[in-house]
Symmetry: C2
Subunit: 235 residues, 2 copies
Protein backbone atom coordinates (compact mmCIF):
# COMPACT_ATOMS: atom_id res chain seq x y z
CA UNK A 1 0.00 0.00 0.00
CA UNK A 2 2.80 2.42 0.76
CA UNK A 3 3.64 5.21 -1.68
CA UNK A 4 6.71 7.23 -0.82
CA UNK A 5 9.08 9.64 -2.54
CA UNK A 6 12.47 9.92 -0.86
CA UNK A 7 14.20 12.87 -2.51
CA UNK A 8 17.81 13.95 -2.05
CA UNK A 9 16.96 17.64 -2.04
CA UNK A 10 14.07 20.09 -2.35
CA UNK A 11 16.02 22.29 -4.70
CA UNK A 12 18.56 21.72 -7.44
CA UNK A 13 21.06 24.42 -8.35
CA UNK A 14 19.62 27.20 -10.50
CA UNK A 15 15.98 26.20 -10.05
CA UNK A 16 13.16 27.09 -7.62
CA UNK A 17 11.91 25.20 -4.57
CA UNK A 18 10.66 21.73 -5.66
CA UNK A 19 10.63 22.93 -9.29
CA UNK A 20 12.64 19.99 -10.67
CA UNK A 21 10.13 17.45 -9.34
CA UNK A 22 6.84 19.36 -9.30
CA UNK A 23 5.22 17.56 -12.26
CA UNK A 24 5.99 14.20 -10.64
CA UNK A 25 4.44 15.48 -7.42
CA UNK A 26 1.28 16.39 -9.31
CA UNK A 27 0.87 12.74 -10.28
CA UNK A 28 2.02 11.51 -6.88
CA UNK A 29 -0.50 13.58 -4.91
CA UNK A 30 -3.26 13.27 -7.54
CA UNK A 31 -5.90 12.29 -4.97
CA UNK A 32 -5.10 15.13 -2.56
CA UNK A 33 -6.36 18.69 -2.59
CA UNK A 34 -4.61 19.48 0.69
CA UNK A 35 -1.44 17.95 2.12
CA UNK A 36 0.04 18.08 5.60
CA UNK A 37 3.46 19.74 5.83
CA UNK A 38 5.83 18.89 8.68
CA UNK A 39 8.19 21.89 8.92
CA UNK A 40 10.03 20.69 12.05
CA UNK A 41 13.48 20.55 10.39
CA UNK A 42 13.52 24.37 10.12
CA UNK A 43 16.30 24.96 7.53
CA UNK A 44 18.41 27.94 8.55
CA UNK A 45 16.32 28.07 11.72
CA UNK A 46 13.27 29.62 9.98
CA UNK A 47 9.90 29.47 11.73
CA UNK A 48 7.27 26.80 11.08
CA UNK A 49 5.03 29.52 9.63
CA UNK A 50 7.61 30.83 7.15
CA UNK A 51 8.61 27.34 6.09
CA UNK A 52 4.99 26.35 5.51
CA UNK A 53 4.48 29.47 3.39
CA UNK A 54 7.40 28.35 1.20
CA UNK A 55 5.88 24.89 0.73
CA UNK A 56 2.47 26.41 0.05
CA UNK A 57 3.86 28.60 -2.70
CA UNK A 58 5.47 25.63 -4.48
CA UNK A 59 2.37 23.41 -4.25
CA UNK A 60 0.04 26.23 -5.33
CA UNK A 61 1.45 25.71 -8.83
CA UNK A 62 -0.17 22.26 -8.95
CA UNK A 63 -3.33 23.42 -7.12
CA UNK A 64 -2.58 21.66 -3.85
CA UNK A 65 -3.05 23.42 -0.52
CA UNK A 66 -0.52 22.93 2.26
CA UNK A 67 -1.32 22.99 5.98
CA UNK A 68 1.46 23.02 8.56
CA UNK A 69 1.26 20.43 11.34
CA UNK A 70 1.89 23.21 13.89
CA UNK A 71 -1.55 24.63 12.97
CA UNK A 72 -3.30 21.60 14.47
CA UNK A 73 -4.20 21.13 18.12
CA UNK A 74 -3.60 17.37 17.78
CA UNK A 75 -0.67 16.66 15.46
CA UNK A 76 -1.11 12.85 15.64
CA UNK A 77 -4.70 13.23 14.46
CA UNK A 78 -3.53 15.58 11.70
CA UNK A 79 -1.17 12.88 10.44
CA UNK A 80 -3.90 10.20 10.57
CA UNK A 81 -6.34 12.38 8.66
CA UNK A 82 -3.91 13.70 6.03
CA UNK A 83 -4.53 13.11 2.32
CA UNK A 84 -0.78 13.37 1.78
CA UNK A 85 2.27 14.22 3.88
CA UNK A 86 5.37 16.26 3.06
CA UNK A 87 8.33 16.40 5.44
CA UNK A 88 10.74 19.14 4.35
CA UNK A 89 14.50 19.40 4.74
CA UNK A 90 16.58 21.30 7.24
CA UNK A 91 18.29 19.84 10.28
CA UNK A 92 17.68 16.11 10.74
CA UNK A 93 18.41 16.22 14.49
CA UNK A 94 15.90 19.02 15.04
CA UNK A 95 13.31 17.17 12.96
CA UNK A 96 13.84 13.84 14.73
CA UNK A 97 13.80 15.49 18.14
CA UNK A 98 10.47 17.20 17.43
CA UNK A 99 8.91 13.99 16.13
CA UNK A 100 9.93 12.19 19.34
CA UNK A 101 8.89 15.12 21.53
CA UNK A 102 5.38 15.07 20.06
CA UNK A 103 5.33 11.26 20.12
CA UNK A 104 4.73 11.09 16.35
CA UNK A 105 7.23 8.47 15.18
CA UNK A 106 4.91 5.45 15.36
CA UNK A 107 1.80 7.17 14.07
CA UNK A 108 3.73 8.65 11.13
CA UNK A 109 5.23 5.27 10.29
CA UNK A 110 1.87 3.46 10.51
CA UNK A 111 0.03 6.09 8.50
CA UNK A 112 2.57 5.92 5.69
CA UNK A 113 2.64 2.10 5.80
CA UNK A 114 -1.16 2.21 5.45
CA UNK A 115 -0.89 4.12 2.19
CA UNK A 116 -0.95 7.87 2.78
CA UNK A 117 1.44 9.30 0.15
CA UNK A 118 4.62 10.64 1.78
CA UNK A 119 7.16 13.01 0.26
CA UNK A 120 10.45 13.58 2.03
CA UNK A 121 13.25 15.89 0.96
CA UNK A 122 16.71 15.89 2.57
CA UNK A 123 16.08 15.62 6.35
CA UNK A 124 12.57 14.38 5.52
CA UNK A 125 14.27 11.63 3.50
CA UNK A 126 16.86 10.77 6.14
CA UNK A 127 14.08 9.82 8.53
CA UNK A 128 12.70 7.28 6.02
CA UNK A 129 15.77 5.12 6.65
CA UNK A 130 16.40 2.81 9.58
CA UNK A 131 18.32 5.48 11.49
CA UNK A 132 19.52 9.06 11.02
CA UNK A 133 23.13 7.89 11.41
CA UNK A 134 23.99 8.84 7.83
CA UNK A 135 22.73 12.42 7.91
CA UNK A 136 25.15 15.17 6.89
CA UNK A 137 23.71 17.58 9.43
CA UNK A 138 25.27 19.17 12.46
CA UNK A 139 23.98 17.61 15.73
CA UNK A 140 22.69 20.92 17.12
CA UNK A 141 20.12 19.27 19.40
CA UNK A 142 20.22 15.89 21.19
CA UNK A 143 17.29 13.69 20.17
CA UNK A 144 16.21 10.78 22.42
CA UNK A 145 17.21 8.29 19.72
CA UNK A 146 18.76 8.06 16.25
CA UNK A 147 16.16 5.46 15.23
CA UNK A 148 13.97 6.70 12.42
CA UNK A 149 10.83 5.57 10.57
CA UNK A 150 12.38 2.54 8.89
CA UNK A 151 10.13 2.82 5.83
CA UNK A 152 12.96 1.26 3.81
CA UNK A 153 15.38 -1.43 5.04
CA UNK A 154 18.49 0.74 4.60
CA UNK A 155 19.81 4.22 5.33
CA UNK A 156 19.73 7.33 3.14
CA UNK A 157 22.55 9.77 2.55
CA UNK A 158 20.93 12.77 0.82
CA UNK A 159 22.89 15.50 -1.00
CA UNK A 160 25.42 12.80 -1.81
CA UNK A 161 28.66 14.47 -2.82
CA UNK A 162 31.52 12.98 -4.80
CA UNK A 163 35.05 13.69 -3.53
CA UNK A 164 36.29 17.04 -4.83
CA UNK A 165 39.28 16.66 -7.14
CA UNK A 166 42.30 18.68 -5.97
CA UNK A 167 40.78 19.51 -2.59
CA UNK A 168 43.38 20.41 0.03
CA UNK A 169 40.86 20.06 2.84
CA UNK A 170 41.70 17.22 5.23
CA UNK A 171 38.14 16.67 6.52
CA UNK A 172 36.64 13.31 5.54
CA UNK A 173 34.95 12.82 2.16
CA UNK A 174 31.37 11.58 2.14
CA UNK A 175 32.53 8.14 1.03
CA UNK A 176 34.98 7.96 3.95
CA UNK A 177 32.21 8.89 6.37
CA UNK A 178 29.88 6.20 5.06
CA UNK A 179 32.71 3.65 5.26
CA UNK A 180 33.17 4.64 8.91
CA UNK A 181 29.43 4.06 9.40
CA UNK A 182 29.98 0.51 8.18
CA UNK A 183 32.60 -0.13 10.84
CA UNK A 184 29.81 0.14 13.40
CA UNK A 185 26.62 -0.66 11.45
CA UNK A 186 25.65 -3.18 8.79
CA UNK A 187 22.63 -1.76 6.85
CA UNK A 188 23.19 -0.56 3.28
CA UNK A 189 23.33 3.18 2.56
CA UNK A 190 22.11 4.83 -0.63
CA UNK A 191 23.95 8.01 -1.56
CA UNK A 192 21.34 10.07 -3.43
CA UNK A 193 22.77 12.92 -5.50
CA UNK A 194 20.83 16.16 -5.77
CA UNK A 195 18.10 15.64 -8.37
CA UNK A 196 17.64 11.93 -7.58
CA UNK A 197 14.84 10.31 -5.62
CA UNK A 198 13.54 6.88 -4.70
CA UNK A 199 9.95 5.95 -5.44
CA UNK A 200 8.87 3.35 -2.91
CA UNK A 201 5.68 1.33 -3.30
CA UNK A 202 4.53 -1.92 -1.74
CA UNK A 203 6.80 -4.20 -3.77
CA UNK A 204 9.18 -1.84 -5.44
CA UNK A 205 11.91 0.72 -4.74
CA UNK A 206 12.99 2.50 -7.92
CA UNK A 207 15.69 5.12 -8.43
CA UNK A 208 14.33 8.16 -10.28
CA UNK A 209 15.80 11.35 -11.73
CA UNK A 210 18.60 11.93 -14.25
CA UNK A 211 21.56 10.69 -12.20
CA UNK A 212 23.09 7.47 -10.93
CA UNK A 213 23.12 6.77 -7.19
CA UNK A 214 25.95 5.29 -5.13
CA UNK A 215 25.20 2.21 -3.06
CA UNK A 216 27.28 1.26 -0.04
CA UNK A 217 26.81 -2.25 1.28
CA UNK A 218 28.56 -3.67 4.32
CA UNK A 219 31.83 -5.36 3.34
CA UNK A 220 31.38 -4.62 -0.37
CA UNK A 221 33.01 -2.19 -2.76
CA UNK A 222 30.60 0.76 -3.30
CA UNK A 223 28.91 0.78 -6.70
CA UNK A 224 26.76 2.98 -8.94
CA UNK A 225 23.20 2.17 -9.97
CA UNK A 226 21.45 3.69 -12.99
CA UNK A 227 18.20 5.59 -12.87
CA UNK A 228 15.13 3.29 -13.06
CA UNK A 229 17.05 0.56 -11.22
CA UNK A 230 14.87 -1.61 -9.00
CA UNK A 231 16.38 -1.61 -5.49
CA UNK A 232 13.93 -3.73 -3.52
CA UNK A 233 16.46 -6.52 -3.02
CA UNK A 234 18.65 -4.21 -0.99
CA UNK A 235 18.65 -4.84 2.76
Amino acid sequence: MQNIIIASTSTVHGSGYLEYIIQDLKAFFKNADTILFIPYARPGGISHEDYTRLANKAFAKINIKVKGIHEFYNPAQAIKNAQGIFVGGGNTFVLTNQLYKHNLIDILKQTVKNGTPYLGTSAGSNICGLTIKTTNDMPIVFPPSFNALGLVPFNINPHYLDPLANSKHMGETRETRIKEFHHFNTPPVIGLREGSWLHVTQNSIILKGPLTARVFEYNKVPYEVETETQLNQLK
Copy 2:
Protein backbone atom coordinates in the same frame (compact mmCIF):
# COMPACT_ATOMS: atom_id res chain seq x y z
CA MET B 1 47.09 25.11 36.06
CA GLN B 2 45.57 23.79 32.85
CA ASN B 3 47.68 23.51 29.71
CA ILE B 4 45.79 22.50 26.60
CA ILE B 5 46.30 22.55 22.85
CA ILE B 6 43.07 22.41 20.85
CA ALA B 7 44.12 21.82 17.23
CA SER B 8 41.87 21.92 14.18
CA THR B 9 43.57 18.95 12.54
CA SER B 10 46.39 16.44 12.99
CA THR B 11 47.55 16.90 9.43
CA VAL B 12 47.72 19.80 7.01
CA HIS B 13 47.68 19.18 3.28
CA GLY B 14 51.00 18.01 1.86
CA SER B 15 52.64 17.30 5.22
CA GLY B 16 52.96 14.27 7.53
CA TYR B 17 50.94 13.37 10.62
CA LEU B 18 51.40 16.17 13.25
CA GLU B 19 54.38 17.49 11.26
CA TYR B 20 53.16 21.11 11.14
CA ILE B 21 52.98 21.35 14.94
CA ILE B 22 55.61 18.88 16.13
CA GLN B 23 58.15 21.46 17.34
CA ASP B 24 55.45 23.17 19.41
CA LEU B 25 54.54 19.78 20.86
CA LYS B 26 58.15 19.25 21.89
CA ALA B 27 57.95 22.36 24.06
CA PHE B 28 54.40 21.57 25.18
CA PHE B 29 55.25 18.05 26.40
CA LYS B 30 58.74 18.99 27.64
CA ASN B 31 58.25 17.29 31.01
CA ALA B 32 56.94 14.02 29.55
CA ASP B 33 58.90 11.05 28.28
CA THR B 34 55.71 9.04 27.70
CA ILE B 35 52.23 10.29 26.90
CA LEU B 36 48.86 8.55 27.00
CA PHE B 37 47.10 8.31 23.65
CA ILE B 38 43.31 7.96 23.46
CA PRO B 39 42.60 6.39 20.04
CA TYR B 40 38.85 5.95 20.58
CA ALA B 41 37.82 8.16 17.62
CA ARG B 42 39.22 5.57 15.17
CA PRO B 43 39.53 7.61 11.91
CA GLY B 44 38.43 5.50 8.98
CA GLY B 45 37.52 2.80 11.51
CA ILE B 46 41.16 1.75 12.11
CA SER B 47 41.98 -0.28 15.20
CA HIS B 48 43.21 1.19 18.46
CA GLU B 49 46.51 -0.60 17.89
CA ASP B 50 47.10 0.78 14.40
CA TYR B 51 46.10 4.27 15.44
CA THR B 52 48.48 4.20 18.41
CA ARG B 53 51.29 3.07 16.12
CA LEU B 54 50.66 6.14 13.96
CA ALA B 55 50.85 8.45 16.96
CA ASN B 56 53.95 6.66 18.24
CA LYS B 57 55.73 7.20 14.95
CA ALA B 58 55.05 10.94 14.99
CA PHE B 59 56.11 11.41 18.62
CA ALA B 60 59.26 9.29 18.18
CA LYS B 61 60.67 12.26 16.26
CA ILE B 62 60.68 14.30 19.47
CA ASN B 63 61.71 11.35 21.65
CA ILE B 64 58.37 10.86 23.34
CA LYS B 65 56.87 7.40 23.79
CA VAL B 66 53.15 6.88 23.27
CA LYS B 67 51.02 4.31 25.11
CA GLY B 68 47.45 3.64 24.04
CA ILE B 69 44.74 3.76 26.71
CA HIS B 70 43.44 0.39 25.48
CA GLU B 71 46.70 -1.19 26.73
CA PHE B 72 45.74 -0.46 30.36
CA TYR B 73 43.55 -2.62 32.57
CA ASN B 74 42.25 0.50 34.31
CA PRO B 75 41.84 3.38 31.85
CA ALA B 76 40.76 5.88 34.54
CA GLN B 77 43.97 5.19 36.44
CA ALA B 78 45.96 5.52 33.21
CA ILE B 79 44.51 9.02 32.74
CA LYS B 80 45.27 10.00 36.34
CA ASN B 81 48.87 8.79 36.08
CA ALA B 82 49.63 10.21 32.63
CA GLN B 83 52.47 12.70 32.11
CA GLY B 84 50.59 14.03 29.11
CA ILE B 85 47.46 13.13 27.15
CA PHE B 86 46.75 13.14 23.42
CA VAL B 87 43.26 12.53 22.06
CA GLY B 88 43.40 11.98 18.31
CA GLY B 89 40.85 12.76 15.61
CA GLY B 90 38.37 10.52 13.86
CA ASN B 91 34.67 10.29 14.60
CA THR B 92 33.54 12.52 17.47
CA PHE B 93 30.45 10.39 18.20
CA VAL B 94 32.52 7.22 18.48
CA LEU B 95 35.04 9.00 20.71
CA THR B 96 32.37 10.51 22.97
CA ASN B 97 30.49 7.23 23.20
CA GLN B 98 33.62 5.34 24.29
CA LEU B 99 34.50 7.97 26.89
CA TYR B 100 31.01 7.65 28.40
CA LYS B 101 31.03 3.87 28.11
CA HIS B 102 34.26 3.67 30.12
CA ASN B 103 33.03 6.39 32.49
CA LEU B 104 36.02 8.61 31.69
CA ILE B 105 34.46 12.04 31.08
CA ASP B 106 34.83 13.37 34.64
CA ILE B 107 38.25 11.91 35.36
CA LEU B 108 39.60 13.25 32.07
CA LYS B 109 38.18 16.69 32.75
CA GLN B 110 39.54 16.78 36.31
CA THR B 111 42.97 15.50 35.31
CA VAL B 112 43.33 18.17 32.62
CA LYS B 113 41.98 20.89 34.94
CA ASN B 114 44.64 19.81 37.45
CA GLY B 115 47.41 20.49 34.95
CA THR B 116 48.23 17.37 32.91
CA PRO B 117 49.05 18.70 29.41
CA TYR B 118 46.33 17.77 26.92
CA LEU B 119 46.59 17.78 23.14
CA GLY B 120 43.44 17.34 21.07
CA THR B 121 43.19 17.22 17.31
CA SER B 122 39.91 17.34 15.41
CA ALA B 123 37.51 15.03 17.35
CA GLY B 124 39.90 15.33 20.31
CA SER B 125 39.39 19.09 20.05
CA ASN B 126 35.64 18.94 19.66
CA ILE B 127 35.34 17.29 23.07
CA CYS B 128 37.19 20.22 24.71
CA GLY B 129 34.14 22.40 24.07
CA LEU B 130 30.91 22.49 26.05
CA THR B 131 29.21 20.01 23.73
CA ILE B 132 29.92 18.08 20.55
CA LYS B 133 27.01 19.84 18.84
CA THR B 134 29.33 21.61 16.38
CA THR B 135 31.21 18.56 15.13
CA ASN B 136 31.30 17.95 11.37
CA ASP B 137 31.17 14.19 11.82
CA MET B 138 28.53 11.69 10.83
CA PRO B 139 26.52 10.42 13.84
CA ILE B 140 27.40 6.76 13.23
CA VAL B 141 26.86 5.75 16.86
CA PHE B 142 24.43 7.13 19.48
CA PRO B 143 26.30 8.42 22.54
CA PRO B 144 24.43 8.83 25.86
CA SER B 145 24.93 12.61 25.72
CA PHE B 146 26.37 15.37 23.52
CA ASN B 147 27.88 17.05 26.61
CA ALA B 148 31.66 17.17 26.41
CA LEU B 149 34.58 18.10 28.67
CA GLY B 150 33.83 21.83 28.82
CA LEU B 151 37.50 22.75 29.19
CA VAL B 152 36.68 26.03 27.42
CA PRO B 153 33.42 27.98 27.77
CA PHE B 154 32.48 27.69 24.09
CA ASN B 155 32.25 25.14 21.27
CA ILE B 156 34.84 24.19 18.68
CA ASN B 157 34.30 23.69 14.97
CA PRO B 158 37.49 22.03 13.69
CA HIS B 159 38.44 21.79 10.00
CA TYR B 160 36.56 25.06 9.56
CA LEU B 161 35.80 25.48 5.88
CA ASP B 162 34.92 28.70 4.05
CA PRO B 163 32.04 28.56 1.57
CA LEU B 164 33.26 27.32 -1.81
CA ALA B 165 32.90 29.95 -4.51
CA ASN B 166 30.83 28.73 -7.48
CA SER B 167 29.66 25.56 -5.72
CA LYS B 168 26.46 24.15 -7.19
CA HIS B 169 25.91 21.88 -4.20
CA MET B 170 22.78 22.75 -2.22
CA GLY B 171 23.92 21.26 1.11
CA GLU B 172 24.48 23.80 3.88
CA THR B 173 27.78 25.69 4.18
CA ARG B 174 29.64 25.44 7.47
CA GLU B 175 28.60 28.98 8.35
CA THR B 176 24.93 28.13 7.74
CA ARG B 177 25.24 25.09 9.99
CA ILE B 178 26.76 27.09 12.83
CA LYS B 179 24.05 29.73 12.44
CA GLU B 180 21.48 26.91 12.79
CA PHE B 181 23.29 25.84 15.97
CA HIS B 182 22.66 29.35 17.31
CA HIS B 183 18.93 29.03 16.77
CA PHE B 184 18.94 26.37 19.48
CA ASN B 185 22.05 27.13 21.56
CA THR B 186 23.76 30.28 22.84
CA PRO B 187 27.49 29.46 23.45
CA PRO B 188 30.07 30.94 21.06
CA VAL B 189 31.68 28.71 18.44
CA ILE B 190 35.25 29.06 17.18
CA GLY B 191 35.77 27.89 13.61
CA LEU B 192 39.39 26.71 13.54
CA ARG B 193 40.88 26.37 10.06
CA GLU B 194 43.33 23.54 9.38
CA GLY B 195 46.73 24.63 10.71
CA SER B 196 45.26 26.69 13.57
CA TRP B 197 45.09 25.79 17.24
CA LEU B 198 44.16 27.30 20.59
CA HIS B 199 46.64 27.28 23.44
CA VAL B 200 44.68 27.27 26.68
CA THR B 201 46.32 27.95 30.06
CA GLN B 202 44.86 29.01 33.39
CA ASN B 203 44.18 32.62 32.45
CA SER B 204 44.63 32.68 28.73
CA ILE B 205 43.24 31.27 25.49
CA ILE B 206 45.40 32.26 22.51
CA LEU B 207 44.91 31.53 18.81
CA LYS B 208 48.05 30.01 17.27
CA GLY B 209 49.18 29.04 13.78
CA PRO B 210 49.41 31.06 10.55
CA LEU B 211 45.69 31.67 9.93
CA THR B 212 42.81 33.71 11.25
CA ALA B 213 39.91 31.96 12.96
CA ARG B 214 36.18 32.69 12.58
CA VAL B 215 34.20 33.43 15.72
CA PHE B 216 30.44 32.94 15.88
CA GLU B 217 28.67 34.54 18.81
CA TYR B 218 24.96 34.28 19.50
CA ASN B 219 23.07 37.16 17.86
CA LYS B 220 26.23 38.72 16.43
CA VAL B 221 27.69 38.94 12.95
CA PRO B 222 30.54 36.37 12.69
CA TYR B 223 34.02 37.86 12.68
CA GLU B 224 37.65 36.93 12.07
CA VAL B 225 40.36 37.02 14.74
CA GLU B 226 44.08 37.21 13.99
CA THR B 227 46.64 34.70 15.19
CA GLU B 228 47.95 35.50 18.71
CA THR B 229 44.58 36.97 19.66
CA GLN B 230 43.66 36.49 23.30
CA LEU B 231 40.23 34.83 23.46
CA ASN B 232 39.67 34.39 27.18
CA GLN B 233 36.85 36.94 27.26
CA LEU B 234 34.77 34.73 24.99
CA LYS B 235 31.91 32.91 26.70
